[in-house]
Subunit: 185 residues, 2 copies
Amino acid sequence: MDVYSDKVTGAENQQERLIEFRGWVIGFVDGEGCFSIGFVRQPSRAERGGYKTGYQVTHEFVVTQGERSLSCLHELREFFGVGQVIINHRYDNHREHLHRYVVRRRADLLETIIPFFTRHPLRSSKQDDFEKFARCVDIIAGGSHKTPDGLIEIAEIAQTMNRRKPRHELIRILRGHTPDIQDTG
Amino acid sequence: MDVYSDKVTGAENQQERLIEFRGWVIGFVDGEGCFSIGFVRQPSRAERGGYKTGYQVTHEFVVTQGERSLSCLHELREFFGVGQVIINHRYDNHREHLHRYVVRRRADLLETIIPFFTRHPLRSSKQDDFEKFARCVDIIAGGSHKTPDGLIEIAEIAQTMNRRKPRHELIRILRGHTPDIQDTG
């Protein structure tokens, strides 16, 4: 084998490693990832444009691991080039601290995380959660979460994600807000 | 682009998909897989060659998923070509039945599962559990689990796997067996 074909093989191996690693990321997120939409009551900040409904909507992509697999989270951080690895200290009877790779910034979700999992779909039922998550982030990016109708739409999608219990109570409260907002809007 | 290069591209894409899928398997097992060694008390079968110590040692590789991700388990079954997908019916308040891809047959572990994860290591701390599992199956394949010393060696390795609590009690009992077995052997 001459030098040239050695180089080709080297490049092919490198390419193969990258493709296999991309597959690993998809599989690991299928197992350990979570796409979630949250609602934070912000009653005292209703004057701010983003919180006219009294709620802040949060979005995050998270992968959690114990201390011994912390390196996997740093590998994800390096692979995606966005987000951060943070620690959840545990002082109870658990054996190790938990670490989380977290991407919360909307631009990082819209430009990096969502396009990646759109091009490379998950194989488990988590793909369904991802699609709902992407739909919610899309609504938020369009600004509709600042209106009661948009917020209710997000809450109705979010209640079907991650095997959550239905959020009838939240949606009831949000619906209750609608007349007020329309009156004052 | 001519027909030939189209075919090359097709073959490359096929190859790429296989490599990516292999990566997915590794990542999914990093997240959801479990390599475990169990001890089943078999006091009434001590006459059988395999249970002279009074214990049967079991080994299994398992990946568990809810009903909605059952297809992933069938994909694993197809990929490895060994093992089976079985259902754990749940009639409690859980939302879906659990399914398990299980490989228990020693030859399947020795010829398929262990060689695969030896060539393609896991990236999480589960790799450590896998190596201990492979060591235990190796001891069992050599027949040493039929002796008290071999069984204690396996129990000592197994107690450090899967964040289990130490199995002092089992090892104490096994050690207690040693003189009897030596006396009668």
